[in-house]
Subunit: 334 residues, 2 copies
């Protein structure tokens, strides 16, 4: 399995990205094909004494920054590490692409270069969040500000296939995140999406869930539009950071509490691992023809390695083929 | 100060509601005027040996349940504890109204019975959340699924007056919760609302904030539409419950960690208090002519008491008069 990695994307690129690739080669047995500026990549490899085994390079002079418009990857910055990575993926030079850079550009690039799966109306960002019962995929976490009911139905379908094929659940529960659980709740979009989801025979639709239910484990696939989904996702992130901050204060608030913290070191490590949303990888760019993972912007070597693992599993599990087939069945019926 | 309280609203009514009233009388020096069914209220007072000092009653035969439509309070269930409470408030028989019952009905009743402040286009739910820097008001937390840009501007104004007059901040920072911080971000509604908020001379507008910024303390007033706001609010709640659950597991995971937990008892109590969103009270029904507080549905005596304190402060601080004046100034200028 060879994973293409954008060596220039993310706050800690290229050093942590390259370190993450080396970790992935060593621990996961994959190969990495890293795109980026020749000088920057070579300098980081040397400076940080990163073992080059299993890492190949493909050089591109440009870098899509966080300030660049989404379209830059296919217009002014075609020769960027991101643009090259997506093209190499399309050409079959690797099995999946991992990028910690500009989300909007990655989505636009993946849609325009790798193309949407035939029949899929919109690609979506689908982050995996820790939750009470394990993990939940939020889809759409921010790609589509404005949605039509059929987009939400397809988000449910894609999320369901992913969670099943990746082994998170045998029959993933799909919930529509709404402002109340009653069937009539929400805007016109949500009322119409509810009906479509309910009538889709491929889905185990559990109805509307409230925002609270996302992390409390009400479903494995939490469907919503990209605007509300983004607010919900980032809201949960902020709440998590707030609580972890309070906890840190409590653990270090006095000499006694520091001793207490030492006594529960093992448990606290377990807590941190379960709450860490980078542990399972990044967000899936769902709905395009090749496996693309958006790693967290502040990815460290470890979280980048986790994103590479997720990308390799994603490519190996046949998620995209299964989505194609499910769509073909639907179209056949229609 | 006399606070009217819906004795029948909420999961733990009437016992915890009445207990909360007695607590408020004793600790805050207010009077309570409790509405509800005569038999139920009397039985609870007797059974739980609640001290009747400072508590008056006004009887109503009906109860608006959680399943009743919002309009019931002004149609089929006018003679409910909620309907009577709102009418008594309008007639000046008390200074504020606290209710832990059906939110939709409370909003509809407050809007139709107590009326919107002249010039205010929509009333909003405005919960107060704990955050890194103290507290933040989320407005709208769920009243208006569909909004116009000028509603969001007014939400910012009302929230700002509240946070200032209630002493949370001298010059409250108002943020627009959006899917990115750049000015151009969001749907048409958000782009237009951004411009209105930015140009309003009465506001200290800090621009767009991301969902993460709500609990990370980016502003004192977080403005958004009621649909996304509800998802964000409940999402934060779910995240909080998830983290507290993990923490509880960590604290009780082994004998050693239990000892550790004992050593940091004081710190953990502090954490719990800071994370407890019922500590500051409930959600303000913002934009109507009288002070109305929606207490949490699962209110205990203590959280109900906190909602009564918030209601008394709200009535005493002159928030509504200040909103009237701010609107008059705006209209004069227009």
């Amino acid at each position: 399995m060879k994973i293409i990695v954008d060596g220039m994307g993310g706050d800690n690129a290229p050093a942590e990205i390259l370190r993450g690739c080396a970790l992935a080669v060593r621990e996961l047995g994959v190969e990495a094909l890293v795109t980026g500026r020749e000088d920057a990549l070579n300098a980081a490899m040397t400076e940080h004494k990163i073992c080059p085994d299993g890492i190949e390079f493909a050089y591109a002079p440009d870098v899509v920054t966080m300030e660049d418009p989404a379209s830059s990857v296919v217009k002014t910055k075609k020769n960027s590490s991101m643009g090259l990575g997506l093209r190499l993926l399309k050409e079959g030079k690797g099995d999946a692409f991992v990028c910690a850079g500009n989300s909007g550009a990655l989505l636009a690039g993946a849609t325009l270069i790798n193309k949407r799966i035939p029949g899929i109306k919109r690609a979506a960002f689908a982050p995996l969040l820790p939750c009470k019962t394990g993990h939940v995929m939020l889809i759409d976490g921010g790609a589509n500000e404005s949605c039509l009911p059929e987009y939400l139905e397809q988000f449910g379908l894609m999320g369901s296939v992913y969670m099943k094929k990746m082994g998170f659940a045998q029959t993933p529960r799909v919930g529509l995140v709404n402002n109340g659980t009653e069937e009539c709740k929400g805007t016109e979009l949500y009322v119409a999406a509810h009906t479509l989801l309910k009538n889709n025979p491929h889905l185990h639709f559990v109805g509307n869930i409230e925002g609270r239910g996302v992390m409390m484990g009400d479903c494995e696939v939490a469907v919503c539009d990209g605007f509300s989904g983004n607010l919900l996702l980032k809201g949960c992130e902020g709440a998590g950071l707030f609580f972890l901050g309070l906890m840190k204060e409590a653990l270090t608030g006095s000499t006694l509490s520091k001793v207490g913290a030492l006594l529960m070191k093992k448990q606290l490590r377990g807590l941190k691992r379960r709450a860490d949303y980078t542990e399972v990888g990044g967000a899936v760019v769902m709905g395009v023809c090749n496996p693309v993972i958006k790693a967290h912007g502040n990815s460290t070597a470890k979280s980048l390695k986790n994103a590479i693992r997720q990308a390799a599993d994603f490519a190996g599990a046949g998620v995209i083929d299964e989505i194609r087939q499910a769509l073909a069945t639907e179209e056949g019926k229609a």
